[in-house]
Amino acid sequence: MATVSHTQTYRRKSWGAVFFILPLLILVVIGFDIPIVTIFNYSISSADGYSLDNFYELVTTPVFAKVALNTLRITVMTTVIVAIAGYILAYWISTLPKTGRMIALALVVLPFWISVLVRTYAWIVVLGNAGIVNKTLQSLGLTAAPISFLYNDLGVTIGMANIQLPLLVLPLYAALIRVDQRHMQAAASLGASKRVIFWRVFFPQTLKAYLAGIMLVTIVSIGFYITPAILGGGRVPMMSNVIETYINTVPRWELASAIAVILLFVTLGLFAIYRRLENRTGDEL
């Protein structure tokens, strides 16, 4: 009986779905979907109708190749650093006693919520020529002249890794604590060494969540705008920074749109992989 009345309620009220969803749908269609279609349209338009001229122009511009390489290099470096340091941090937190876990997690969540601008800005203070790192190195006599960390690959990578770390650590930690401890105890009772237990029993069970986290970091890094703009000082332009140049400095909307469309497809492709990994993480439990 309960199920019957349940379905009836559902059916009777289903007209209401429109009422609940329509306002947001209208806003998102006007304020998001149509603008996305507009840049798509721009990217494939040229003087004589639709063509791929804009993409051709981009690909044949040496500067664009350089920027694409920059983007790839910074994304890979950031992702590798975050992947290694993030796994170790998440693993360590999962071994802490309860209070320690809470404190450590709070310290990971806190920066996650603080403005990207604030977190990026701090690195100018830390890594600048008169910053703490250089002052420490000089007072220890390790270097005579200050090392330039800013306005190059290194600075941008450090800043981006700092911002992306929580994106990997938080979901990965959730996956690590779900691993059944009895698996490791069983392996130990069968005489497996610590190293074998970790690499053959523990790690494989966390691999899918790990890869999903790595994908997420890659997705966010590839379209990052703020940190390369500030810590790169225009010397390490990534794809997103070139979009800005084609809007504000050299107004070429069709080229800005074409880069945005390339970035859109790359992101969607990576996101599709991420979704598959994320869905499979649930299956193995």
Binding site: P35, I114, Y121, G131
Partner: protein
Amino acid sequence: MTPNYAVRTVAIVTLGFLILPVIIVIPMSFSSASSMSFPPPGLSLRWYSSFFGSSVWVSATITSAVLALISSTLGLLLGSMASYGLCRRRIMQRGIIESNFMAPMILPTIITAVALYIAFAKIGLLGTLIGLVMAHTILLVPYVMVVMNVAFRSFDLRQEQVSWTMGASWYTTMRRVVLPQLGPNLFAAWVFAFVHSFDEVVVTSFIAGTYNTVPKQMFSELILEISPTITAVATLLIAFTVASLAGATLIMKRSVQTV
């Protein structure tokens, strides 16, 4: 399994690296020097008085607050309605509609920024408050929906059914049964949305025109020349974020205890 020294050291260094920016900026803001040296040679509140005495920063703060207040309230209303509709009603193409609402969170903000810049330029919304509110609302709605989807899915549908069975209208059910219990979730969603709008910089820098917000002003100063006043702004932003999130967490916790 207890981690060895190497693992522990790397983990602690990583954690230190993660919070370093936050712990550096705060003492810097109380520095008496105008150079960016650390540790500060002496303490003063000069950068805070420079912030509150600057008409540029004060008006940017007011703009940010008004924009965040309107956008987060609108986003909370539209986002939680849509979340309720998606959780409780049968809808065709539900997956597509939900992905569409979440897309602005997943796509790089620069794509949204350039798309809105070009589209708004064509229809005359560039540099208008309406354009800014639309953009901010669209960007923060996914955060509202993430919080409210969890809330509606864990809320027992039978409570609503009982209320209907006893003759309550949908409106009464909402007002007397559903909303009082979801109050804390709504508050948390609103705080997340507000913080998100207040911090938004990429899309705002593209479409704000002559409107100036705190992050936009901060971004342009960081690109051009850096004044220590920014450390005070940054510290105020940190304090504001921590206070809002602590408030939201506290209210959420209290609600869990009473249930």
